[in-house]
Amino acid sequence: MLLGMPANAIEVRNIFKTYADGTPAVKDVSFDVPEGSCFGFLGPNGAGKTTLMKMLFGMVKRDARPGTRVDVLGFDPARDELSIKHLCGVVPQDNNLDTEVNVGANLYIYSKFYGIPSRDARERITELLGFMELREKAKAKVGDLSGGMKRRLVIARALMNRPKLLILDEPTTGLDPQVRQLIWDKVRSLKREGTTVLLTTHYMEEAYQIADSIVIMDKGNRVLEGNPRKLLAEGIEGWVLEVLDEDAMGAFGDAGGGGLLSPGVRREDGESRSQFFSEHPEALREIATRLPSGATHLRPTNLEDLFLRSTGRQLNEEQ
């Protein structure tokens, strides 16, 4: 083993997972997560994101293959999952709080799993409730908390042991925009303090907001990877004009466009909408003028468009 800390918090080489029923969930994925960075797995439901994460702390067994190597904070989850879990905080997809006891007791019970002495645990609980803005809720019943508060409590719980690596499995799914912003802020501030963050999400916006590097997965494969801003800049035009009213497209005829498109504009026809992509919003505005007003929407492209372009499918489609 190397002396000192590795520069990467996580190194994964050629990892595979096939479930007992034969379903291949992850196919040959490799990635590195540098210490102190935020790494995001994106993809539709069923893309293999959660499976991949669970393999990192031993909740899912990876396929035994000679070429596979997994190193999480210096340990291999197949051999030493307790050491990894001792250094990690995990926010699972489901909240699974102890509804019988109050907010503070939920954290206190969890502190015992880490063997934290009672006095330290109480101090840490006060600190965490403050950090997650739940201070007034210490004595509240879990059942009385809103969805966003429950989620914040689960995050506080994952921070109990001051983790070096925070694993977030869909941290903001189903939450309202304010809570999502708050959670993103907290993740950013943890990152500033040096915590490595691993994130799964099917919200492109979430990845764009907090991840330094992303892998977009689809059906167990990697589709794209890199810095989200760079990917966007290099992978797709800057602007898109969406035509929401199919009838309005009559003016353009079939996909060829009959030479009506100016150079640098790309047209894509979906099932219920057409899109024009370009680096130049003016070119798209010009197209819009030729269509009925109100039938078009001009906006900057996002990772969702990139995903669609790479896979031919919408992100939120069930597989």
Binding site: G74, H86, E100, Y108
Partner: protein, 261 residues
Amino acid sequence: MKSNRAYPPLASRLFSVWYRHFRTYTKDLVSNGFPPFMEPLIFLAGMGIGMARYVPGLAGMSYLQFLATGLVMTSAMFTSAFECTYGTYIRLEFDKTYDGMLAAPLKVSDVMIGEALWAGTKGAFFSLAVLVIISAFGLVNFAAALLTPFVGFLTGFLFASIGLLITSFVKNMNHFNFFFTGLLSPMFMFCGTIFPIENLPPPLQVLAEFLPLTHPVRLGRVAAMASGWHASLLLDLAYTIGVAALIMAWATKRLEKRIIK
């Protein structure tokens, strides 16, 4: 250099799981503490008022004493069997409690053994509750019977291990009916709780010796009466501990496969 022993040692991990169950259970102590005292009270009052006078004493005690000291361990059996079947299944499949616990530095075996230790504690508590009631009836001498909760713990642990094993096979909560109606109810009747197994036809007596309730009931009755000590009780003790350990190991292995996919 990194130490491989940064995470808490086994005893601390088991305690933390036990503590989780202790806290969630005792949160509602009034409603959770009601049945273990009430059930033997109802049962003994009914039997004592209605039935015991038709039945002669046996094995050197009144029938009501026989029944009461049998109830001490069936109470431990039922609470622990419920905890580690329905309770475990709900934590496993619906509440996803184990997903949360296993994100902390715990192994599946820590979680399951901690769970059985908690069920054993409940067994001890329930047998103590019955002891309180039956000594209030003047059926046993409370102060002399204080080994009973210890037997209650072993009984609880034994039926926790059996419950966990059953749970590891179950895909649907209704399947527990086979366990409760098919195994626990007959044991309640035929393992020496309500009448001595010597009253059974000889082949069934042999069968009763194999059933897990027979041995804790025998131990519990002697502990509660604080009399009738005999060297053969060591066999009952060995059965109770040995079978619990074997089944626990098997159950843990199966649940590991079920949880870690």
